[in-house]
Amino acid sequence: MQMIQTLKFVKKEIPAWTAGSVDTPAGPVFRVSSDWSRADYWGMIKSRVSAFRMNYSVEPGLYAVGDPTRDSDVFVTANYKLTFDVVRRSLTGMSAWILVLDTKSINVWCAAGKGTFGTDEVVKRITLARLSEVVSRRRIILPQLGAVGVCADRVQKDTGFRVSFGPVEARDIPAYVGAGYKKTKEMSSIKFSMLDRMVLTPMEINPVMKKYPWFAGGVLLLFGLAPTGILFKQAWQFGMLFLALGLAAVLAGAFATPVLLPFIPFRSFAIKGWITGLLATFLTLQAMGGAPGQSVFLLVAAYLLFPALSSYIALQFTGATTYTGMSGVNKELKIGIPIYIITTAISLVLVILFKIREWGLL
């Protein structure tokens, strides 16, 4: 099986990150380089900002780093290329085996949550790679976050391999090995630094901005609507402020809230997003000289709608954090969704009232 797999791969293009091969009792295995090429860096950037990451993967199976022997460690990881790259870079100067699971090009934690980085897959890959013939020690090291999907006890019962959950971050592997496979508290806790949060924001902003043209169209239509048809000058004059407020709310919810997360008061993401949204609305109104025609209707509508929009967008970030749980998000949504619907409805009514007055009907 392994032979067939290996042949299949050789026929394909040999990946640029390989450096020859290593012979094992279970057949030849690719040796991987610990260095990153320009293509690897470019791949990282693309997968941070777009759907490119959906198919950014490596072939599952066994790989070698350096000159591993029967006594070398086996590190298990996901087949998302960026994850794999971080692991091989972390193993610079070491000799070890890397067992790559088929996680459908998804990172360890998310794949473990879905179950693709799971007990059955670990068992399957150990068997397919004939790991028991390659190494003499019956121990594999999994990333700690893989524990969400992998039951260590069952892997041992099915394969004889004992599972050790290593550090959360691959970069701590050398220190973990150096300390005799012991983790410090630091190594086993997941962090969420400002930089961590910052790199996630493009994938918060992108999906929302895809919907922005619809919002813009709606705003321009509403403000341009006149008894005599659609007046473009009016659409632009009155609509521009709302378009700017919409943009400010997106940035408040999808960028400012994630980046400034611990500095914004309250634990609730909805409240955090509402606060930044309120601030953004206030600042935008100041910068643009208040509501068009100094209308109180529009002013109240703006203060109802845009902080709520920012709040809703900020709540989406719960999907990317390292510390929010389902019970908490459920609670926020249960309270939040009715409020979002009501505030949106009221602001729409206020804008319509403004229009009716503008047309001289009120």
């Binding site: 994938m203 634990r267 389902m326």
Partner: protein
């Protein structure tokens, strides 16, 4: 950083604990600590219900109802039915991937 207080479904039955230490090894938020050869819960509010502890406790000393703490996933499941999951790539949401 801590999320909402008193919402986690984490339950720990200390009488079943044998002190193997797996929960301490797998919890990414340091919720468990070893004291007198047994595990104990130090700070429940740090729990994010990932379920790694319960999945790896051989002695069923831990129970937690797990799920994705992701607003987009929960909203999708409210609209389209089914369990909330990270499979939201098609709807261009802000999920992990």
């Amino acid at each position: 950083m801590k999320y909402l207080a008193n919402v986690t479904t984490l339950q720990f039955f200390s009488e079943k604990c044998t002190g193997c230490g797996r929960c301490v090894e797998v919890c990414p938020h340091g919720v468990f600590e070893m004291r007198d050869k047994r595990a104990m819960v130090t700070d429940r509010d740090r729990c994010m219900e990932c379920g790694a502890c319960a999945k790896n406790c051989e002695f069923n000393a831990i129970a937690v109802s797990t799920g994705v703490g992701c607003a987009a996933a929960i909203i999708n499941s409210l609209i389209y039915g089914g369990e909330p999951s990270c499979d939201c790539s098609g709807t261009a949401s802000s999920c992990c991937g």
